[in-house]
């Protein structure tokens, strides 16, 4: 069955996008409610789930222990990519494997980022298991990025470069020839 994993928010129930009729027996899309905690106020959000993988944590998805190191995570991801990526999967299982690849990708993206992994671990410890797309969104991604240090370093360099190229633009109102002659004159007078 084809399913694009788009879910209507607002109900405790979910239905699949491509099928107007909601499958009653096949729990393809469902938010996970861990037994330990009650979520009366929790609102169902988009999830991409498979019945078989229902309870798998990101660690289980990647097949690594919760103490797994970054190189282990990377290695596991690449191995699973070799298996599930649609380019290398058996032709008759492309759709199923594509779904799995996207899940593996999400697990990898979360666990290979130390901040995201810490958040995920914290939620796991509390018994909250918000898998796919639940925590991550446009805004939270941006917030997350703003706090990273590597970003600032490149950003400073980038804004400096852009500013320099803008100043060149400022005299761009001259015709091209005039601009070049001026540059030549500036050079020769130096």
């Amino acid at each position: 069955m084809r399913c694009y994993g788009l879910v209507i928010p607002g109900g405790s129930d979910a239905s699949c996008f491509t099928h107007a009729r909601r499958p009653t027996s096949d729990p393809v899309l469902r938010i996970i409610y861990p037994a330990r905690i009650q979520f009366a106020s929790f609102k169902a959000k988009a999830t991409i789930r498979e019945a078989t993988k229902k309870d798998a944590s990101f660690y289980e998805l990647l097949g690594i222990p919760e103490t797994g190191t970054l190189p282990e995570i990377k290695q596991a991801y690449k191995q699973l990519a070799r298996k599930y990526h649609p380019d290398v999967s058996p032709p008759d299982r492309v759709e199923e494997y594509t779904r799995r690849f996207i899940m593996v990708q999400e697990a990898y993206e979360t666990l290979s980022d130390s901040r995201r992994r810490a958040l995920y671990d914290r939620d796991m410890a509390r018994g909250i298991h918000l898998a796919f797309s639940a925590r991550r969104g446009f805004q939270s991604d941006l917030e997350m990025e703003e706090r990273s240090e590597w970003k600032n370093r490149w950003e400073a360099q980038l804004s400096d470069l852009k500013r320099r190229s803008m100043t060149k633009d400022a005299r761009g109102n001259l015709s091209w020839g005039a601009q070049m002659r001026r540059q030549r004159d500036e050079l020769s007078s130096e």
Partner: protein
């Protein structure tokens, strides 16, 4: 000499046919059609082999000559003189023109080429024409490319002694989805089926992955992850990629690209050497074209010389009109060349820094810096890349002009399901989206749904709501590009209908996007009220791009017709 059949086998925008089920050995060939040059390669069972044309050349020029009823491309045809290329009857630089409208600055820069590029500046496709018997005969970039591809196909079929159907083509990073469909269209016109389109540096990344895997196997090493920065600059485009490679898997972490290249360096230099050329280039008189051809050839020679010499003498006689005869007689040094092209080089710097930034990579983590493409020998380019990456030396094990096509041939073999007993094809490229895809919301803002550099295949969604009370319809405008909506490409549009009556901000509208294994983009959208179990109206599923031509005026027409009546407002994530 038999003229190859010029067939149009498909008129569909998206050549959405099933993958060929033809049995082995239908290995897809790799084609790298550059703005100025073209190469073809194929996996020959044990390694990648570059194919040569009848004149024993691996590198063929990308152009098509129009003559009376006959058109012939640079695969088989040989021009009697270098200057003939710039006589007006030869169309080249198709890659800079394909899929662009007449308001595009790249199209405007092409107006100084010897053939005719006419613009009306309203957002439709430009008129492109070749000079045949003193008349401008129109053609299209797709047609020119198709004629060229037919020749290429005949050449390859003759050598491999089998019909060729599947191809892997390399494309610039900055190409939008509409431009990619134009490439697919040209291939379909030539009877070829596109198995994959690969951004050029990602093809290089695949070749690198193979080389690293071989080295790791030879040395019995563990093959830990290696970060590579790939910089590719040809005549028309500049592309940058950062990849993480281990065990034959090359994961693209970030891509950046722009339509800048050797053609810009050349045009800037021509104007610098001979400022009056601006007028003559645009005028397209018969004498103007001849004079400018000489200037172009002399300037290109000078630029090439400046790559290994500090200065060069340029001599050209230019006939302008009937009476005047002007002579360019100048010594140009490398520094002048660098000053004249300062902006182009700055743009290259920005692309590299942007790409490293997006890849979240630190300089010291870069294991290899790979420099490829026709402009890779320019000293200034080498300095820039070296300066940013803080590397003494570049990666040496690749031919800078053959890397992209070799990668495409590898992908062709992998995607055709070929395996190699020595594991040379145990390879995989994990691609990322070169551009962001999103919709217009919150007034005139671009809200990305699939951000730039998202791993493909991908599936993402965001939630929106209505902008007015009892709004029963909403317009979904899908754009591709960067942060600024005005600069983005409108891929398509549709309406969400049947939104239940409610105050503004109450209905929940979900917009989802899905890029599948073959890079097909589908957009889903639908509305519901909080608490409702079922949508009021079936969801929409639309395959993009739907705008096939004239995106410039389409955008404006939609704005004129609907204003902000059917607007969407983004909802924050509630968790």
């Amino acid at each position: 000499m038999a003229q190859p059949a010029y067939t149009v086998t498909s008129d569909s925008e998206n050549t959405g046919e099933e993958k060929s089920s033809v049995a082995f050995p239908d290995i897809a060939i790799g084609i790298d059609i550059g703005t100025s040059q073209c190469r073809v390669a194929v996996w020959n069972g044990s390694q990648v082999e570059l194919l040569k044309n009848a004149r024993n050349l691996k590198m063929m020029q990308s152009y098509v000559t129009f003559k009376d009823d006959l058109s012939s491309g640079g695969v088989s045809n040989q021009l009697s003189h270098e200057l003939d290329m710039f006589s007006g009857s030869v169309i080249f630089n198709m890659k800079r023109l394909i899929g662009r409208v007449d308001t595009d600055p790249v199209v405007h820069a092409s107006k100084s080429l010897p053939f005719l590029v006419q613009t009306l500046n309203i957002g439709v496709r430009p008129i492109i024409a070749a000079l045949v018997r003193n008349a401008w005969r129109s053609t299209t970039p797709e047609e020119v490319l198709a004629i060229y591809l037919v020749e290429l196909r005949v050449m390859v079929e003759g050598q491999l002694k089998r019909p060729i159907r599947n191809v892997v083509l390399t494309t610039p990073v900055s190409f939008n989805r509409f431009q990619l469909t134009r490439i697919e269209r040209a291939c379909a016109m030539a009877g070829l089926h596109v198995l994959r389109l690969m951004p050029e540096p990602t093809a290089v990344a695949l070749l690198y992955a193979q080389q690293q895997q071989q080295t790791a196997q030879d040395s019995m090493g563990s093959g830990s992850e290696k970060i590579a920065l790939i910089f590719n600059m040809g005549a028309g485009y500049c592309d940058v990629a950062v990849s993480a490679t281990a065990g034959g898997v090359s994961q693209i972490k970030a891509l950046a690209g722009s339509a800048i290249g050797g053609e810009d360096l050349l045009q800037n230099m021509m104007r610098y050497l001979f400022p009056e050329s601006e007028i003559m280039l645009m005028r397209h008189g018969v004498d103007d074209i001849k004079s400018m051809a000489k200037l172009r050839v002399a300037t290109q020679d000078a630029i090439n010389t400046l790559s290994f010499q500090n200065s060069v003498q340029v001599d050209v006689d230019i006939v302008s009109g009937t009476e005047t005869c002007k002579v360019v007689d100048k010594v140009v040094d490398r520094e002048e060349f660098e000053v004249v092209n300062e902006k182009v080089f700055q743009q290259c710097e920005i692309l590299i820094v942007q790409c490293l930034h997006d890849a979240k990579v630190d300089v010291q983590d870069i294991a290899d810096v790979i420099l490829v493409g026709g402009c890779s020998k320019i000293p200034k380019i080498r300095n820039i890349v070296q300066g940013i990456c803080k590397k003494e030396a570049f990666y040496k094990d690749m031919n800078p002009l053959e890397a992209a096509v070799s990668g495409a041939a590898l992908e062709g073999a992998v995607a055709s399901g070929v395996s190699d007993p020595f594991g040379k094809l145990d390879l995989l490229t994990i691609q990322a989206t070169p551009l962001a895809i999103g919709i217009r919301a919150d007034g005139n803002k671009f809200i990305p749904i699939i951000p730039k550099n998202t791993t493909m295949p991908a599936r993402k969604e965001l939630h929106f709501t209505t902008a007015r009370d009892n709004q029963n319809e909403a317009l979904v405008l899908v754009y591709e590009g960067g942060a600024k909506i005005e600069e983005n490409y409108l891929l398509g549009y549709f309406k969400i209908i049947g939104i239940p009556p409610a105050p503004k901000g109450v209905p929940e509208i979900t917009v989802g996007m899905d890029i599948d294994a073959t890079n097909v983009l589908r957009v889903f959208a639908g509305a519901t009220l909080p608490g409702a179990k079922e949508p009021f109206f079936p969801f929409m599923e639309v395959r993009m791009p739907t705008v096939d031509d004239g995106n410039g005026w389409c955008d404006e027409a939609l704005h004129t017709a609907y204003g902000n009546r059917l607007d969407l407002v983004s909802l924050p994530k509630k968790i």
